[in-house]
Structure formats: C-alpha cells, structure tokens
Symmetry: C2
Subunit: 148 residues, 2 copies
Amino acid sequence: MLKEWVRNQLEKDSSRLTPQREAVVDVLIANADDHLSAEDIFIHTKKLYPEIGLATVYRNLELLEKLNIIHRFDYGDGHSRYEIRLGDDDEHYHHHLICQKCGSIGEFKSDLLDTIEKRIAAETGFEVTDHCLRFFGICAQCREKVKS
Amino acid sequence: MLKEWVRNQLEKDSSRLTPQREAVVDVLIANADDHLSAEDIFIHTKKLYPEIGLATVYRNLELLEKLNIIHRFDYGDGHSRYEIRLGDDDEHYHHHLICQKCGSIGEFKSDLLDTIEKRIAAETGFEVTDHCLRFFGICAQCREKVKS
DNA sequence: ATGGGTGCAAAGGTTTTGCACTCCG
DNA sequence: CGGAGTGCAAAACCTTTGCACCCAT
C-alpha cells in the first residue's frame, strides 16, 4: 500500500511519519491527479490537521521531494506544484498538457523521448538522467466552447 | 540585421528603442547562447548604461517578451531566464540540456516532438501551440572530470 | 501637452530561516 | 537526554507597482 511505502522511505531516512506529515501525504494521495501548489496543500491539510503551519508544509514537501516520494515542478506562474510519485518508471513518461485558456493541466503518456535521449548521449556526450516536457495550447473543452 | 528587426517590432507597437532598451537588447544579442537571468542582464547592462534601474530591465524584458522578441523560461531554480529569438521556427525545435553538476545549459535541436504533438491532438483533442522540453543530467565536461 | 519611458523606493507573493518549544524513543 | 519535528514570526528572494519626473514629438 502506498502509505506503507511512504512510511518505509521515511524510516530509511530516520524520519518519522508524524501526524502533520501524514496529513500532507494523505492530501497528496487524495489529489494525485491535481498538481497542487504548496498553498493548496496547506489549505487541504488544514482540514485534516487545523493547527499545522505553512512552514511545516514546506519543510515536509522539501523532505518528501528529497526522498523521491513526490515530484515538484514549476510552470513559471510563480509557484511550484507537487505530485506524488506512483509508478516510478511511469513517471518518466508522463507529460503535461497545460491549457492557456483555462489553466487546466492534463496528462499524456509517451516514451518517444527515449529516442532523443539516446541521440543526445551519442551526439553530445551529455548523459540524460531526467527530463521535463510540457505542452502548451488549448484543451478540448475550451476548443469546444469557442466553436459554439 | 537583428537590431533593425527589433526596432521595427518596437515601432509597430508604438514603442521606442530608448538607450536603456537598446542596451538591454545589446546584452541579449551578445549573450544569445547564455540564458541570462534578469539579474545577469541588469549587471551586464549597467556596464553599457550605468544609471539604469532594475525595474527598467524588468519592464523592458516584459515588453520584449510580449513582442516575441525574446523568450522567457523558468528552470524552477527561483528565477526566470531570457534568450533572444533568432530563427523563429528554429526556436521551437531547440531544447535545453541542464547539467546538474555545474549548472551549465547546453542546447540540442530535434523536431521529433512533431510526432508526439500530432498524436496528442489526435488522441486527446488538445491543440498544442508550444512546448518546453528540458533534459537534466551530466554534461560531457563533468563526466570527463569524474573519470580522471 | 501628451504619451511613452525612467529611477527610486515601496509593496507584492512565494519560500526559507531562526528560535524556542514539544515530543518520542 | 537528544535528535527530530513543529508553530510562529521574521527574513529572504525575485518581481511588480506607484509615483514623480523627463524627454521627444
């Protein structure tokens, strides 16, 4: 189970799964598809653990990121967003579709980048360990609205 | 010539190529391959025009971005970076190789993404207008150093 | 005189840090 | 006890805004 895995990862680092930490993890699991910001996570977590402070949320997100439990990314809109890592390998192949009209974030899976990464290594000597691919455009819903 | 094109773009927007603005553009042209941050640009521009203020640099970068003269991107390291647009279409196909050891930013050209973008449109209805692809890893120089 | 442009200082928003305190092993 | 974890407030950080002033047309 996902939470057991999280607990194990924490224990390996001699960190505990405190109530606050658990609340943050619960929020991340419950919103696994939603790309929450730190503020969003703070607000949600407050429902489960009202006394929690924003700094604690940030410190826990930092720790969870360090332990590779969550993934953090930036859209250049001023704040980071966080997503729990589910399948590991899967992670590497899932990209984001960011709608410039409504701001929604969809996903798309593809392993086509493997080809590029091999070419980069062969042609430039740069060893790729990770990537970040985001597509910008108009989502299906917004395109529908424009038509009507 | 590049600067004439810039001047034209500005005039179309009824904006002037002021000395400050020109200094910023000169810096961007001289460092076309360097992915400078706003602060970097400010420091460089000060050499050409010592009285310039940081706010002016930001305002000009904002304007230049609006007019599609420069491209702005975020590496999630806390600050934006800027790059002058040279070949337009070329732009779409050039990606960044970010070294996690030394922080250097290389480039790699590839149009392989066209295939993915067509599949996205076909499979999800999301219309892609732009993308951002960054690779993280270890650059050739740093790999060389580790060996020795 | 009118609108664009500027410098400075102040404000803005997100994230980090310092510090005293608590809790569990 | 000792290290990990916490809440609060203050600080840090990059970026934007307000405002008075300047310059060219």
